[in-house]
């Protein structure tokens, strides 16, 4: 066989291998998403049914829906504080495991355990810890006459509670990634800095941290895009409350679709979230392509 014919038949083979996955992705993933876009242009309601095409009216309605605008702020607070806490804590633990207690091999396994707990269980565990009558935290402080506030009854408290639960469950993910990156950094750099008389703290901030930037950016983007999807934590811990204080955008889409039966309007909220996720994914994919080719 000539090389050209060989490569033509190879191409056919590779295309045949791509086919099942392409068809399946089309059916399982692209088709529902197309359905979401189509529904977002209607005012389909589970109870009232269809009343014709309405074009982009749903999207115009979103612009002055104060509940939607509020949901975006709530999402921003949950994602912003959450990602910040997870990245800082995850990095701190990774650096600690790498530099301070590198002999604690088993500790790494223990730190990873919270990451294994399914989200519903995470939400229930932290709900119990934030329930004043039940919580050992409250009981402990009661001994000293200190009353711990019931966090889930105020907006900022409830948002903090969700951020804490999410951070507990997912900082191990950041830790694993950062630890892997740290172990890829040559120890020679640390030694050279030490010989030059730099303190360990200075070495970390001036040498190690800059080398970690690509990893930290990547992991922060990953966590960010995941925090947009908060559902079990909100559903279980606060049910969107108190009032609507923790109704982040994803949860608001659920409320509109499945509680208020406004399928079309709910779909338009989902479209907005999807477009946002697409933009963030684009940056991750581009970053990943560059980073792994370097």
């Amino acid at each position: 066989m000539t090389p050209a014919r060989a490569s033509a038949s190879m191409n056919r083979g590779y295309r045949a291998m791509m086919l099942p996955a392409s068809i399946a992705v089309g059916i399982f993933a692209i088709a529902p998403l197309a359905g979401m876009f189509a529904l977002s242009l209607t005012n389909y309601n589970l109870i009232r049914g269809w009343s014709g095409e309405i074009g982009i009216a749903n999207f115009l309605r979103l612009l002055d829906d104060h509940r939607f605008i509020a949901s975006v702020y709530i999402m921003a607070a949950l994602s912003g504080f959450g990602v910040l806490a997870q990245v800082v804590l995850g990095t701190a633990v990774a650096v600690g495991l790498d530099k301070i207690v590198s002999r604690w091999k088993a500790a790494r396994g223990i730190f990873v355990i919270p990451f294994a707990v399914p989200h519903v269980a995470v939400a229930l565990i932290w709900l119990s810890l934030f329930t004043p009558t039940l919580s050992p935290i409250n009981a402990f402080f009661d001994m000293f006459g200190i009353t711990v506030p019931a966090m889930l009854t105020t907006q900022s408290g409830a948002i903090a509670a969700i951020v804490i639960a999410d951070t507990w469950a997912t900082y191990p993910f950041v830790m694993l990634i950062v630890l892997a990156a740290l172990q890829g950094i040559s120890p020679d750099l640390d030694e050279a800095a030490a010989l030059d008389g730099a303190s360990r703290v200075k070495t970390f901030f001036l040498i190690t941290l800059p080398l970690l930037y690509p990893t930290l950016l990547m992991v922060a983007l990953f966590r960010f895009i995941e925090t947009l999807k908060h559902f079990p934590l909100i559903f279980v811990m606060t049910n969107g409350g108190p009032g609507r204080a923790t109704q982040a955008t994803n949860y608001y889409a659920y409320v509109q679709t499945f509680q208020n039966s406004n399928v079309g309007y709910g779909a338009s909220i989902a479209v907005v979230l999807f477009v946002f996720a697409a933009i963030v994914s684009f940056y991750i994919a581009r970053f990943n392509a560059r980073y792994s080719n370097a």
Partner: protein
């Protein structure tokens, strides 16, 4: 060494104290849920230190008589089938993406990431309507298909990165010897990528195992999965904390060994997927 000074020892002590604090933060909620699982109902609302020895297996016993074990089985069936489906469909596709010379790989990587990252609420709205029309609400098939929208992009993405680590020459040598492409995949590429394959399988299983949202919307009593069934212990009248704690542990136990063994693959599945 300049590091042997007293101030170094103080700093190191502080560092170790900080690590112990982090360790406590990671562990105390786990210990708490184990205690909660073993607390008798009468002592539930009094501080643990007042009656530390009041322990019982009643909660475990009562869970085994509820619907929860059936929900665990449902979770195993749906997560397992969806993983098998995703592997069968996705592995050849990932091989093709990794070894084929021409193809818009960036676009494929973006699409796969996006499908993995997109909010499930978008997938579930049309699925819900179609399932209602076709009677697929509360069926295994319906839930397995829904999970495949999560697991398939994940399997393709992570196997793509595993196949990238096999040298192209190995594949080309197989083809030169006259083996068909499918044979090369089965006999050369998959064995060489076996650790990656195992990791993709278990992590994809976990993706479905952890799901709450799809199951909440498209299952009812028959195929309800464990994460949704736990919520049955939370009712308006009362919250059965003992049962919730036992159920949460049951939900977590299968995952712990997997996560500890697979933690290095978690790193792999995030980065370094796409390499020309």
């Amino acid at each position: 060494m300049r590091d042997s000074t007293a101030s170094y020892r103080v700093k190191r002590g502080l560092g170790i104290a900080m690590m112990l604090a982090f360790l406590l933060f990671a562990l105390l909620p786990v210990i708490w849920v184990i205690i909660l699982a073993l607390r008798p109902a009468q002592q539930l609302f009094e501080p643990i230190w007042r009656s530390p020895l009041a322990l019982t297996l009643d909660n475990i016993y009562s869970i085994t008589r509820s619907d929860f074990p059936k929900a665990l089985v449902n979770s195993f069936i749906t997560a397992g089938c969806s993983t098998a489906l995703a592997l069968i469909l996705g592995v050849p596709g990932a091989f093709s993406l990794s070894k084929r010379k021409a193809a818009n790989k960036f676009l494929a990587s973006w699409l796969l990431l996006l499908l993995r990252m997109a909010p499930p609420v978008g997938f579930v709205i049309p699925l819900f309507l179609i399932y209602i029309k076709t009677g697929m609400i509360d069926t295994y098939a319906g839930l397995i298909f829904a999970y495949t929208s999560l697991t398939l992009p994940f399997v393709v993405w992570s196997m793509w990165s595993s196949f990238n680590q096999i040298p192209d020459e190995l594949v080309e040598a197989g083809l030169m010897d006259g083996a068909s492409m499918w044979n090369v995949l089965l006999k050369v590429a998959i064995p060489a990528a076996r650790p990656g394959l195992v990791a993709a399988a278990v992590l994809s299983f976990l993706l479905a195992w952890n799901d709450f949202f799809f199951a909440l919307i498209i299952t009812r009593a028959d195929t309800m999965t464990a994460p949704v069934a736990v919520m049955n212990f939370v009712s308006y009248a009362s919250v059965d904390w003992g049962a919730i704690a036992v159920a949460s542990i049951a939900l977590t136990l299968p995952v712990v060994p997997i996560i500890i063994i697979a933690n290095k693959y978690i790193v792999q599945s995030l980065g370094g997927a796409v390499k020309g």
